[in-house]
């Protein structure tokens, strides 16, 4: 298996202007490198503000990196060329409602990407939107709905539909499951796993939840204050974590359970 995506020394600095002359540089992500194979699932874990979302945004092209390059199949991706990137790499945002345009119907928003990236006729585009809506467990009738008319689980499904509609090779999700309740979260994760199996998509996601990560991820990337401190297969990190933080992040749930257990016994 060759590397599908290769990230080389990518970093992100934000500058804030406090006074007239000296903008303050704040480091969101120090230079990191890693690679993703086809069909692989990578989880990015870390504390709040550790640079998880920044990695997701940089890969999807929502932000322009301060330095470094991203290669897809050995081909350099131009950070400002969204058309080149969006056919292969798609993003699912954290807040599904806010990432949907409130003034357009679901169908029109899904047609948007087809309009700019395919040369299909209007009827073919429409048909493809129907098929994609059915793939994510929605009905063709949802074509005419506005985002606010759907439940949060359905909105997340629409976001997934938008991500898979161009049949990309990589999907990047930024805490896409955090806002959902457990049963819907399970449905959405199973949906993504099914789609991944059907379409052979690599999936990169940032998450807080150790259970999801253990269930889904092939490899885990641990972030701490903008630095990558560990990157290995899930199995290796679970059995033999090198860093204390890795242990904490991956076992936090069990720790909670143990604590609860002791309190109920007392």
């Amino acid at each position: 298996m060759t590397d599908l995506l290769e990230v080389r020394n990518i970093s992100k600095y934000y500058s804030y202007k406090n006074g007239w002359l000296t903008p303050q540089r704040v480091c969101a992500l120090e230079p990191i490198s890693f690679s993703v194979k086809r069909g692989e699932t990578i989880a990015i874990m870390g504390e709040t503000g550790s640079g998880k979302s920044t990695i997701a945004k940089l890969i999807s092209g929502a932000e322009v990196p301060s330095s470094g390059e991203i290669f897809l199949n050995g081909e350099l991706l131009d950070p400002n060329n969204h058309q080149q990137r969006c056919r292969e790499i798609r993003m699912i945002f954290q807040d599904s409602l806010r990432s949907l345009n409130p003034q357009l119907t679901i169908g029109k928003q899904l047609l948007e990407s087809l309009l700019f990236n395919t040369k299909w006729s209007a009827a073919e585009q429409q048909e493809h939107v129907y098929v994609t809506l059915q793939k994510v467990g929605l009905l063709p009738d949802h074509f005419d709905f506005y985002p606010h008319m759907l439940s949060s689980g359905q909105q997340q499904r629409v976001c997934i539909a938008r991500a898979i509609i161009l049949e990309p090779q990589i999907i990047v999700a930024d805490e896409a499951f955090a806002a959902l309740d457990p049963s819907i979260r399970a449905q959405i994760i199973n949906l993504i796993l099914d789609l991944q199996e059907d379409m052979g998509i690599s999936f990169i996601f940032a998450s807080h939840s150790p259970e999801i990560v253990k269930h889904v991820a092939d490899k885990i990337l641990i972030m701490h204050r903008g630095k990558m401190i560990e990157f290995d297969s899930t199995q290796a990190l679970l059995t033999n974590p090198k860093q204390q933080l890795t242990k904490m992040l991956l076992q936090s749930e069990q720790l909670n359970k143990a604590l609860k257990h002791t309190t109920t016994q007392e």
Binding site: A62, C86, F93, Q103, S113, L139, F145, M149
Partner: protein, 299 residues
């Protein structure tokens, strides 16, 4: 299975315009404002046809005739006549062209120019955008009527100069509000999502962002329209705008000032027309904005 879509789906989403009307029609003030404004608009358009006399025709036998509902009134002159024997109804109707038609035109031109520049400024970033913003802040700190007065002082009092002045005064307000609205929307997640869809800049501007700032535009248009009406009337009242024989409402008010105790109807009737027009526009704009917001938020 023929057309099984209709088995579990009967509900039809009303079109955006229709749902806007559904929201509006629940508010009695909004409906009243719509009727008053459409009546004024209709009166303006049809004024050459429905006015019983020419606005300048003088009837020397009936000078300062009270309105028809008064004991001394005649049904021939529904609103009575002024001190020169001109039919007041014809004058108020003909005045609608000056006091409503011209502001509508000025607002339309100002909106077109202002929204275009505002959208361009909102999408640009860095020095370009901040220079424009600071420049506009200076212009906006001067009241519109004062600015119009300065322009009139340079160009001289005449109808076309008033139009130029009012249009110029309204443009910065449009630029400012549209620029701010665009600036706010530009970094929201749905815009980034559309950008990641590979949309062109033009599509992003017109289809993605613009529908989301219609509330701002509607607010600004109604605000600009009422400002334009009041400014043209005020300039007419001061004798700097539309000149005396023309039946502009503000000019009529100024002329009737001398005889307000003798013939009060020559002041009250044009004043009432002005008041109702501005009030209906403001109420209409406000309820339209509320309806648009409510439509998005859900029924």
């Amino acid at each position: 299975m023929p057309n099984n879509r209709s088995i579990y789906y009967q509900y039809r989403e009303p079109s955006p315009l229709r749902s806007l009307w559904l929201h509006m029609s629940t508010n009695p003030f909004a409906v009243a404002a719509i009727y008053i404004f459409s009546f004024m608009l209709l009166a303006m358009i049809l004024s050459p046809l429905v006015a019983p006399y020419s606005p300048d025709a003088q009837f020397t036998d009936v000078i300062s005739q009270p309105p028809a509902w008064h004991d001394e009134g005649q049904i021939r002159f529904l609103f009575g006549t002024d001190d020169l024997g001109r039919d007041l109804l014809s004058r108020v109707l003909a005045g609608a062209v000056y006091s409503l038609g011209y502001p509508l035109m000025a607002t339309a031109v100002a909106a077109l120019i202002g929204i275009t520049i505002g959208a361009w400024a909102g999408m640009s970033r860095g020095v370009q955008s901040s220079t424009l913003n600071h420049l506009l802040d200076v212009v906006l700190s001067i009241p519109s009527l004062l600015l119009a007065l300065v322009i009139i002082a340079i160009l001289g009092p005449a109808l076309h100069n008033v139009m130029i002045a009012i249009t110029l005064v309204l443009i910065p307000q449009f630029i400012h509000s549209v620029h701010n609205a665009f600036y706010e929307e530009r970094n929201k997640e749905y815009v980034i999502a559309s950008k990641l869809n590979g949309c062109s800049r033009w599509y992003l501007l017109t289809r993605v962002i613009f529908p989301n700032i219609t509330t701002v535009v509607v607010m600004q248009v109604t605000f600009a329209l009422s400002t334009a009406i009041l400014d043209i009337a005020a300039l007419g009242f001061l004798g700097l705008g539309v000149q005396a024989p023309a039946p502009e409402w503000g000019t009529m008010l100024a002329r009737s000032l001398d005889q307000v105790y003798l013939v009060p109807w020559t002041m009250i009737l044009p004043g009432l027309a002005l008041f109702l027009t501005v009030l209906s526009i403001n109420v209409l704009g406000d309820s339209l904005r509320a309806a648009i917001q409510e439509r998005v938020r859900g029924t």
